[in-house]
C-alpha cells in the first residue's frame, strides 16, 4: 500500500511543526503576512499529499476574506464585531489546516508511543489520544444526526431555522450529546478491558524514526516561519513590506 508523505512523517516532527505554526500564527496576524503564512501551509499540505483538504481550507479562507471585505463597507459598530470574528477565524486557519492534516494522517498507536516517549504522564497522554480518536467519530455521529433530522422533516434549511428554531436546535444537539457520552463510555470500557491501565513501560508496534522526510518539511516550514517573523518585526520597526 502506498502511503502519502504526510503519513510517513514522524509524529514528533508533526508536533514540532504544529508548535512552530502556533508560535508564528500568534505573532504574524496581519492581512498580508497572515495570508502568506496560510499559503505556505496550503503548499506544504499539497506537497505531503493532503491536497483535497488544503483546497477546501483555501475556499474557507477566501470566504473569510470576503466577510472581511464586506465589513469595510459596514458602519463601524457592526464592522467591529463581525470583523474581529473574521480576523480571529482567519488567523486560526493555518493552524487548523495543519492540525487537521495531523489528526488525519497520524496513527493512534504512533501518537501514543511518541507522547509516552516524551515522558508525559498517562493522565496527559490518554485524554489527548482519545481526543484525536474522537474527531472522526464526531464527524460520523454528526452526519447520522443530520440524516435523522431530515427524516423528521427538520432538514437544515433557512425555512426550518426561522419557523422552528428550538426544535431544530434540540434535534441536533440532544442526540449528538447523548451519543457522544455513550461512545466515550464504551470506548473507555473497551480500552480498560484491554489493559490501558496497566502500569509500567508500554511498547509500540511501529518504531519511531527520524529521516529526510522529517527533516525537509520541518526545515522548510521553520525557514518560512522565521522569514515571516523577521518581516513582521521589520514592518513594526521600519515599516517595510
Amino acid at each position: 500500500m502506498r502511503k502519502t508523505l504526510a503519513e510517513r512523517i514522524d509524529v514528533r516532527t508533526k508536533m514540532a511543526m504544529l508548535v512552530v505554526l502556533i508560535a508564528t500564527g500568534a505573532i504574524v496576524k496581519d492581512y498580508v503576512l497572515g495570508s502568506v503564512l496560510f499559503a505556505v501551509v496550503v503548499l506544504l499540505s499539497f506537497a505531503i499529499g493532503r491536497g483535497r483538504m488544503a483546497a477546501s481550507f483555501s475556499f474557507a479562507y477566501l470566504f473569510l476574506m470576503g466577510i472581511f471585505w464586506v465589513t469595510t463597507m459596514l458602519p463601524p459598530n457592526a464592522a467591529g464585531a463581525l470583523g474581529s470574528f473574521a480576523l480571529a477565524c482567519r488567523t486560526c486557519m493555518p493552524i487548523c489546516l495543519f492540525a487537521a492534516v495531523f489528526a488525519t494522517t497520524t496513527k493512534i498507536g504512533d501518537l501514543t508511543a511518541a507522547l509516552y516517549g516524551m515522558r508525559l504522564p498517562k493522565a496527559v497522554v490518554v485524554p489527548l489520544v482519545i481526543a484525536v480518536r474522537f474527531f472522526p467519530t464526531l464527524k460520523e455521529e454528526s452526519s447520522a444526526v443530520a440524516d435523522a433530522m431530515r427524516v423528521r422533516g427538520l432538514a437544515l434549511s433557512l425555512k426550518n431555522l426561522v419557523s422552528k428554531p428550538a426544535l431544530m436546535f434540540e434535534s441536533a444537539v440532544v442526540p449528538v450529546m447523548l451519543r457522544c457520552a455513550k461512545i466515550a463510555d464504551e470506548l473507555a470500557a473497551a480500552a480498560v478491558a484491554r489493559g490501558i491501565d496497566r502500569p509500567g513501560r508500554k511498547t509500540s508496534y511501529n518504531a519511531p524514526r527520524f529521516g529526510w522526510v522529517d527533516f525537509l518539511p520541518l526545515s522548510i516550514l521553520a525557514a518560512c516561519c522565521l522569514l515571516l517573523v523577521v518581516a513582521k518585526a521589520n514592518q513594526g520597526i521600519g515599516g517595510l513590506l
Binding site: 500500500m1 496513527k107 493512534i108 498507536g109 504512533d110 501514543t112 508511543a113 480518536r133 472522526p136 467519530t137 460520523e140 447520522a144 444526526v145 440524516d147 435523522a148 431530515r150 427524516v151 423528521r152 422533516g153 432538514a155 426544535l167 434540540e170 434535534s171 444537539v173 440532544v174 442526540p175 447523548l178 451519543r179 455513550k182 461512545i183 464504551e186 470506548l187 473507555a188 470500557a189 473497551a190 480500552a191 480498560v192 478491558a193 484491554r194 489493559g195 490501558i196 491501565d197 496497566r198 502500569p199 509500567g200 513501560r201 508500554k202 511498547t203 509500540s204 508496534y205 518504531a207
Partner: protein, 471 residues
C-alpha cells in the same frame, strides 16, 4: 482434575446507585476449551456476568460484588484490574466503539502494546494472528472503511493476539450478516481448540449451534436453567420461546425463498428505478437498481454486506441523493427533498432519532398542531406500541426495544405512507423481535408500505410477505 478457566461461586453484583443486584447468586464454571452461552431477555444480567469475568464490573463500572471469582485458578480479589485484562480477551457488541486505534494493524497490536510485549515479538504475533485467522486482506486499513463483520474479525484478532485464557464476548453478532456470523463461529471454534474458554452473552443463538457446549439461561439476574448442547438443540420451539429465547438453529431457507418469487404488482406504492448512488466519485454502491414495494405488504430487503441495501433505503427516504434514476411514490416522481413527507426511515440506532424530553412529546412533535383529540389518540398509539407505562419518561432512559418502538410510533404518526427500517433487530431479544414483527404487520394491514433491510432470517420469516434480493 483440570483447573477451570473461569469459576464463579455464589457471585452477586449490584451497580452503584441501584438497589437490586444485576447478577444475583450466580455460580458456574467453564473448563479450558469449553464454550458457554449466556442467554436470556434484555436486562437479565448476562452482560453483567461477562463484565464480572473481564473485570469491568467493579472496576470500570462501579458497584459491589460478593462471592468468589476465579480466573485461570487465581482469585480476582488478589489481582489488580489490569492483570485481569491480560488473562481475558474481550469482544464487545458495537465494533465502532471498541476500537481505540483508527487503523486495523494498530488495533490488533493495541493489547500487546499495553502489555509491554517487545516489538519483534509483537510483529511476529501479528503475522501469526493474521495467518491463523485468515484476515490478510484486512491489514493496514482504516477502521471506518470496514463492514461490521470485518470490524468484528479485527476485534477478535486483537483479543487473539494476547493469547487470553478466557474470551469474553458480549453480543458480538449484533451487526453481522450470516457469513460474518459463520466466520465468528469459526474463530470461536479455533479459540476452543487452542485451549481457551469462551463465554458469550448473546440473543441470536443459531450461529452458535456448532460451537456451544452449554447454555445458561439468565432470568432476573440468576441462572434459571442450564442445558448441554444436545438437550438445548432438542428443545421444542414452544419450550424455547417460553424462555424468551431465539431460535437455536437457522430457519428453513426454503420458506423464505418462496417469498422471493412473489412478484410486485403493476401499481406499487414505492418504486426506485435505475438508481445509481454512492459515496465516492466513480465508485457507485448501487448500480442501476430497480425495486418496487406494494402497499399493505412487509417486504424484506436482503443481500450480502456492502451491496447497498442501506444506501437504497437512504435514497428512498430522501436523505441521500441518487446520481441517476428516480424514486416514485404512488406513481409520481418525487425529488429527494420532498421524500420525507412520503417515507419515514427507522435508523439502525434509534438514539439519533429521539430528542424530546418525553415519549409523549416525541409523538406531539410530529403532529401538525396538537389538539385534545390528538392527546386521546396518542394514548391509544402509546398502548399499541407498548409504551403506555413509559409515556412520560425521557427516551434516553428506555431500553433498546422501547426506543425502537418509540421511533416506529413516531413514524406511524408522521403521515408518511411508507415505513423503512434498517437492520431493526440488532440487539433485540426474542420478545422484542416478535413484538416488532407484529407492529410491522399491523402497519401493513393499514395499507402502509413497509420495507425492512435485515440479515435476521428468523425475523424476516416472522414479519415479511415478500423478500427482495439485491445483488
Amino acid at each position: 482434575m483440570t483447573k477451570n478457566a473461569v469459576e464463579l461461586r455464589s457471585v452477586s453484583f449490584t451497580y452503584a446507585g441501584f438497589d437490586a443486584p444485576a447478577v444475583d447468586n450466580v455460580s458456574f464454571a467453564v473448563a479450558p476449551g469449553e464454550c458457554i452461552v449466556l442467554c436470556g431477555e434484555s436486562g437479565c444480567g448476562k452482560t453483567t456476568a461477562t463484565r464480572i469475568v473481564n473485570g469491568l464490573a467493579g472496576g470500570f463500572y462501579e458497584g459491589s460484588r460478593t462471592g468468589k471469582v476465579l480466573i485461570a485458578g487465581r482469585d480476582v480479589d488478589d489481582l489488580e484490574d489490569w492483570e485481569l485484562s491480560s488473562l481475558t480477551g474481550s469482544v464487545f457488541q458495537n465494533p465502532r466503539t471498541q476500537f481505540f486505534n483508527l487503523d486495523t494493524t494498530g488495533e490488533i497490536a493495541f493489547g500487546m502494546e499495553n502489555l509491554g510485549v517487545p516489538r519483534e515479538e509483537m510483529h511476529r504475533r501479528v503475522r501469526d494472528v493474521v495467518r491463523e485467522l485468515g484476515i490478510e486482506c484486512l491489514m493496514g486499513r482504516g477502521i471506518f472503511e470496514l463492514s461490521g463483520g470485518q470490524m468484528q474479525s479485527v476485534a477478535f484478532a486483537s483479543a487473539w493476539a494476547c493469547k487470553p485464557s478466557v474470551y469474553v464476548l458480549d453480543e458480538p453478532s449484533s451487526n453481522l450478516d450470516p457469513p460474518s456470523m459463520e466466520k465468528l463461529a469459526s474463530f470461536i471454534s479455533k479459540a476452543k481448540s487452542s485451549g481457551s474458554a469462551v463465554i458469550i452473552a448473546e440473543h441470536r443463538l443459531s450461529y452458535l449451534a456448532s460451537v456451544a457446549d452449554r447454555y445458561l439461561l439468565f432470568e432476573g439476574g440468576s441462572v434459571a436453567a442450564e442445558w448441554d448442547a444436545q438437550r438445548f438443540l432438542g428443545l421444542s420451539d414452544a419450550e424455547r420461546e417460553s424462555c424468551g429465547l431465539r431460535s437455536s438453529e437457522p430457519p428453513k431457507l426454503a420458506d423464505l425463498m418462496q417469498r422471493l418469487s412473489r412478484p410486485a404488482s403493476a401499481f406499487p406504492a414505492v418504486e426506485a428505478r435505475g438508481i445509481y448512488a454512492g459515496y465516492e466519485r466513480g465508485m457507485p454502491v448501487l448500480e442501476g437498481i430497480t425495486v418496487a414495494f406494494d402497499p399493505g405488504r412487509v417486504v424484506g430487503v436482503v443481500g450480502r454486506n456492502g451491496v447497498g441495501k442501506s444506501t437504497l433505503l437512504k435514497c428512498l427516504a430522501g436523505i441521500k441523493k441518487e446520481e441517476l434514476g428516480h424514486v416514485r411514490f404512488q406513481g409520481s416522481v418525487v425529488p429527494p427533498k420532498r421524500r420525507p413527507e412520503h417515507a419515514f426511515l427507522v435508523m439502525q440506532d434509534p438514539d439519533y432519532q429521539l430528542f424530546r424530553p418525553s415519549v409523549r412529546d416525541e409523538l406531539a412533535s410530529v403532529a401538525p398542531s396538537p389538539s385534545d383529540a390528538d392527546e386521546l389518540r396518542f394514548e391509544a398509539v402509546l398502548e399499541e406500541f407498548g409504551l403506555g407505562d413509559v409515556a412520560d419518561r425521557h427516551p434516553a432512559s428506555l431500553s433498546g426495544g422501547q426506543k425502537q418502538r418509540c421511533v416506529c410510533a413516531i413514524a406511524s404518526e408522521s403521515g408518511a405512507r411508507a415505513l423503512l427500517l434498517d437492520e431493526p433487530t440488532s440487539g433485540l431479544d426474542f420478545r422484542n423481535m416478535e413484538r416488532l414483527a407484529l407492529i410491522l404487520r399491523e402497519e401493513a394491514s393499514r395499507g402502509k408500505t413497509v420495507a425492512v433491510v435485515s440479515h435476521d432470517t428468523e425475523f424476516l420469516s416472522k414479519a415479511c410477505d415478500q423478500i427482495v434480493l439485491i445483488e
